[in-house]
């Protein structure tokens, strides 16, 4: 492209940005938005942070908590439009769910739905670990321990316990600890010295910050390290005398479930996935008390039967009113994040715009040529036809 003189070049650039603004306004006035890639039952999301009771699975999906029968099927929403939540955990009797609200702390609510009870009032990064066998809530926070400032990541935590109806939390006697789990007899606390943080960005990490699992005897206050792998060992879970945990020690550096047998300290790999990591494992009693672990791998929920050590996929459907599928007009003049010409030679372009919907940014694609707008020259834009 010939730019001519320098001044002419600047003028052309100025002209282009003016036309881009015009384009944005035109999209806002006339653009038809249609959604692509919608699945009728699942949507495009990934379930996260599942937990399982003797009859139900709870998980986070699209920013809300959902309940699902253990056998799979249609999920029912437990919360609505309250902001993101994470780490829901069933109480030992399966009738209450505690969860981390990203608005200020840890809450409990009945499984049948209803009012929430706020349990913690600490600043900083506070996350639920699990219920204790005697029905208290164990959580980790960086509210009062900050030798190094990590922003919102919360790599360094301290463990606290609080009664399920609230009250003053009691700190466990460890300088810094995360991912706590207390054995059924109340004797052993399994924990990791460090938390991995709220983002999952360390794959095949062998540095000094890689978490190892330690056991702390709550009666005689002895502590010992039970994993020696240089990589990730985290998310300890008790079932009877066996401690299950997540480790990437196995083949391919994938995170799989391992076990540590309590009397003899034998460690063993339970799952052997090599395609994707096992994520957010959480232990439950299973309907007959044999124990099972629910987790997410790829984009699906799985249940691992601890008696047979076989994992199976749990299918679920998310009911959707499909309101996003219908074409509709939106005011997107301030939401356009970028645009790209499509490869076809007819001058058509495809716009990628980000639209703010229900507090979330969603990317939509708009074929401008087939709808209402077309580029005429690289530096001018006009409305070719109106939508009938």
């Amino acid at each position: 492209m010939a730019w001519g003189t320098r001044n002419a070049g600047s003028a052309a650039v100025g002209n282009m940005s003016q036309n881009l603004r015009l384009l944005c306004v035109a999209v806002g006035l006339l653009g038809k938005i249609s959604a692509y890639g919608q699945d009728s039952t699942r949507g495009a999301g990934v379930p996260r942070f599942p937990d399982v009771s003797s009859s139900q699975i709870v998980f986070l999906y699209a920013g809300e908590l959902w309940l699902l029968p253990r056998e799979g099927g249609a999920a029912t929403p437990l919360t609505k439009e309250g902001g993101p939540r994470s780490r829901p955990k069933f109480s030992p009797d399966g009738r209450t769910i505690a969860f981390t609200g990203d608005y200020d702390g840890i809450y409990t609510m009945p499984v049948s739905g209803g009012p929430v009870t706020r349990l913690t009032h600490k600043p900083g990064a506070t996350d639920l670990c699990d219920w204790t066998p005697d029905g208290q809530v164990l959580f980790m926070t960086n509210a009062s321990f900050a030798p190094a400032e990590f922003g919102d990541q919360g790599y360094l935590r301290q463990l606290f316990m609080v009664a399920s109806n609230g009250g003053l939390p009691r700190q466990l006697p460890l300088e810094h600890a995360a991912n706590g789990a207390i054995s059924r007899d109340g004797q052993w606390l399994a924990y990791t010295p460090y938390a991995e943080g709220r983002s999952e960005h360390r794959a095949r990490y062998h540095g000094g910050f890689a978490p190892d699992i330690r056991l702390y005897n709550l009666r005689n206050h002895q502590s010992k390290k039970i994993t020696t792998w240089a990589g990730i060992d985290t998310d300890p879970m008790w079932h009877g005398e066996t401690l299950y945990y997540l480790s990437d020690e196995g083949q391919g550096g994938r995170r799989n479930i391992w076990s540590y047998q309590m009397p003899d300290g034998r460690r063993r790999q339970i799952t052997h996935f090599t395609d994707f990591d096992v994520k957010w494992p959480s232990v439950g009693p299973e309907s007959a008390g044999k124990g099972e672990i629910v987790f997410v791998k790829d984009t699906h929920l799985y249940l691992l039967d601890l008696a047979t050590e076989a994992a199976h996929k749990v299918n679920f459907a998310i009911p959707d009113d499909r309101k996003d599928v219908r074409g509709r007009e939106v005011d997107a003049h301030y939401g356009v994040s970028g645009w790209n010409p499509s490869p076809d030679s007819n001058g058509g372009i495809e716009l990628r715009i980000a639209v703010l919907e229900s507090g979330r940014w969603i990317v939509r694609y708009l074929n401008v040529r087939s709808d209402t707008i077309a580029f005429q020259t690289p530096f001018s834009v006009g409305i070719k036809k109106s939508k009938p």
């Binding site: 030798p147 190094a148 990490y205 000094g208 910050f209 940014w361």
Partner: protein, 124 residues
Amino acid sequence: MIIDIRWNQGGGIPYHLLDLLMRKIAFCSSDLRRTILQPRPTYLQNGPKCLLINGVTQSGGDLLADLVKRSGASTLAGTRTMGAMAGAGGLFIPFINGGFSSPALLPTFADIVTRKLTRLRRDE
């Protein structure tokens, strides 16, 4: 002398500290009555030195521990450092969900520095 860089999140390239740790006595000066002996260059620590590190020592802290280890400027004590030089170089690639990637550009540079240090030590 113990330098405690546990919990240290780093920052710039720690060449000032490395410079102090690596100083060796060239000569000593004194007053006319020879009552005070001043080692030169000044600000050097001629006695035993130790750098205290842990799993949270990161970024510039990683680099200092690595340089100290390779140059032999001081003894290391503690546990393996984090190994997180990410962000060095100032390149932040934004993601659409608000996150970002901060690839480490510095290790290449660190390699050049340490190779130079190794050569210095060999020439001594």
